[in-house]
């Protein structure tokens, strides 16, 4: 199977270690959020490093799947938020950070962004020892337009080796579903949502699900059934997709972390597609204080309104 060229990841790792050590020892940042190797061969996990000496354990590999932006939101109170925070970001992660800045959750001057040129990461870290190939690469990476993050404070290695052109899967799958009848679509999603067990992994890893109390956790009033049965699960996923519309940056973490393999990113990509068509909105690297559902124009589409 065709493998993806990740030869630069070693150089990226070295550069990250050097930069992190420099920043921490010079006191330019108080903490850096990055990745470290796990026990299982080829695995990686997020880490918060506060001493310069520990900078030597930071890595960047195809198993560095996590969107670290989630650790900077107000939902994660455990990360010390004083002083400047360094963070390792792939292109997709940076889009999420940019979105958070647009929502006044973060200030650019409080962050030191270390952008990584990324050829792709694994679709799933259930078996992290797998090499990065066209089969094991994350679906989101196949249609990535953000291999090289821009606007960062430091980008180790300014260019990526030529990449394999891979066909995206989301566009095709969304088109396939759109071509079905309502009843067929309902049956598809019913089968998928029936697997959901309301573990809320999708919500907890999402950088945009930072509400102090999620609407779906409230019972006065109760808007969504909490029981993990098909009716409750369908309501949960519809509400979440709607709350992310116009905000989701497409990091697809929700889909990756779902223990039941529910194709959640299809919902988010569909909404992104609609918002692009309806209101010309797209998540990107520029901070945008105007999100599509908090603004309006006099000439918005109302063809569906009598």
């Amino acid at each position: 199977m065709k493998s993806i060229d990740t030869s630069i990841y070693t150089a990226v790792t070295e550069a990250i270690r050097g930069e992190a050590k420099r920043l921490l020892s010079e006191g330019q940042i108080s903490v850096i959020v990055g990745y470290v190797a796990g026990r299982r061969t080829g695995s990686a996990q997020p880490i918060v490093v506060t001493n310069a000496a520990d900078a030597a354990i930071l890595i960047f590999t195809p198993a560095c799947v996590n969107n670290l932006a989630v650790y900077l939101t107000k939902a994660k109170k455990e990360i010390p938020k004083s002083g400047k925070i360094g963070i390792i970001v792939k292109g997709c992660d940076l889009k999420a950070l940019v979105g958070l800045m647009g929502e006044s959750q973060l200030k650019r001057e409080d962050l030191y962004l270390i952008g990584v040129p990324c050829a792709g990461v694994l679709a799933s870290t259930m078996q992290p020892a797998a090499g990065l190939t066209a089969d094991t690469i994350a679906p989101k990476c196949r249609e990535c337009d953000a291999h090289l993050p821009t606007g960062c404070d430091f980008v180790p290695v300014a260019a990526l080796p030529p990449q394999l052109q891979l066909e995206g899967v989301y566009t095709a799958e969304i088109a396939r579903l759109e071509a079905l009848t309502s009843a067929e679509r309902w049956a598809y999603w019913k089968e998928q949502f029936a697997k959901c067990i309301k573990c809320y992994a999708c919500r907890q890893v999402c950088p945009f699900c930072f509400c102090e109390q999620c609407l779906c956790d409230r019972n006065k009033p109760q808007m969504v059934e909490t029981t993990p049965r098909p009716a409750g699960n369908t309501a949960w996923h519809i509400v979440r997709a709607m709350h992310l519309a116009g905000r989701c940056a497409g990091c697809a973490e929700c889909e990756r972390v779902c223990p039941m393999d529910i194709p959640l990113n299809l919902l988010n990509r569909k909404m992104a597609k609609e918002l692009k068509e309806l209101f010309d909105y797209e998540a990107g690297f520029e901070v945008n204080e105007k999100s599509p559902l908090t603004t309006f124009t006099e000439k918005d589409d109302q063809s569906f309104i009598k």
């Binding site: 918060v48 697997k195 067990i197 972390v257 223990p259």
Partner: protein, 335 residues
């Protein structure tokens, strides 16, 4: 006494049970995910994949109704669920890490309150275990005192043989009854060798030493260091064969609704949220500490057992790569 059953006869047995109206639950593919689910026919059963969730849900459902209410004007009717309606079940293809967790759960569900929902289902279920010939680097059953051929929890245990078929051994009356009811399908064990069993690459952890460290280190930087990455979802608790916390909720409308018992997880921030607004485990390190403590200390204190069977599911699906085996190994190496 050891018996033998061929793959074909096993299929015949399962199809016979299904035809009789017994619910036969085994690993099967559900919309692309392997899960323990009721089979429609024996052909659906998977023998080469570990289901994403454990077998505990046959006794401790993901969500179950325990009572329903109806209100007609001022008249309120409450209806309890009748445990006599729980179906007769045969659980087959249960891995040792899943089967061994069931007797561990028996302790808590028959402790100060006898949970009839769990216990009635237990009474009506026969468990057929299956030895493992494959393991991956997340499996660590051997580290916690189990093995790919451990028979704890199984009423009948199958070991795959070279050339096909299984050696079977019974460990309870239920197992004996099952064989006797279908004696034509089982023959005397021939001298065929078993297939090589899986060999998880983990060394036995000294659980007593780990417990002693936990007894003495309620406050320790280890908790902050490890929990800082935990995002507080319930994935680990839900896929775990041994985790058993639940929430009782009343959901419905003014006119009708149900009281349900749903899975809950100590990782959720609301898990210990009091009605007063106080939350003793308000930060993730405190919640993660509770997880490790419960599994490797509190359950041992109460019931003399470890609340972990080393199946490795939590390690595989943790969104942030938390590796409980690595944490416990670390603790066992501390002085």
């Amino acid at each position: 006494m050891q018996k033998y059953i061929s793959q074909q006869n096993l299929n015949i047995l399962l199809d016979k049970l299904i035809a009789e109206g017994t619910r036969v639950v085994a690993p099967r593919m559900d919309a692309g995910t392997p899960l323990y689910e009721p089979l429609k026919n024996s052909g659906e059963m998977l023998t080469d994949q570990l289901p994403r969730r454990s077998a505990k849900e046959a006794f401790f459902p993901v969500c179950e109704e325990i009572m329903s209410y109806e209100k007609e004007r001022q008249q309120i009717t409450l209806t309890d669920v009748d445990p006599a309606r729980f179906p007769e079940t045969v659980l087959v293809g249960v891995r040792p890490c899943d089967a061994a967790a069931i007797p561990v759960l028996d302790a808590v569900f028959s402790w100060d309150y006898k949970d009839e929902f769990f216990l009635e289902r237990r009474k009506k279920t026969t468990i057929i275990g299956l030895a493992c010939t494959i393991a991956d680097d997340a499996c660590f059953c051997t580290a916690v005192g189990l093995s790919p051929s451990d028979t704890r929890g199984s009423d009948l245990f199958l070991t795959p043989l070279e050339g096909g078929g299984y050696a079977c051994e019974t460990y309870s009356d239920k197992g004996e009854t099952l064989i006797n009811n279908h004696s034509g399908l089982f023959t005397r064990q021939s001298k065929t060798k078993t297939l090589p069993l899986a060999e998880p690459q983990t060394e036995q952890i000294d659980l007593k030493k780990v417990k002693k460290w936990l007894d003495e280190h309620f406050e320790d930087p280890l908790w902050d260091g490890n929990a800082v990455r935990c995002v507080g979802c319930g994935a680990c608790a839900f896929v775990c064969p041994a985790c058993h916390c639940f929430d009782i909720v009343d959901e419905g409308t003014e006119k009708a609704g149900k009281r349900r018992k749903n899975w809950d997880a100590c990782g959720f921030w609301k898990f210990t949220h009091h009605a007063s607004g106080h939350n003793p485990r308000d930060l993730q390190p405190k919640r993660y500490r509770n997880r490790i403590m419960h599994k490797f200390k509190y359950y041992d204190d109460k019931f003399g057992q470890t609340l972990c069977t080393g199946c490795g599911r939590c390690v595989r699906i943790c969104p942030v790569g938390i590796d409980i085996a690595a944490i416990v190994e670390d603790i066992s190496r501390k002085d």
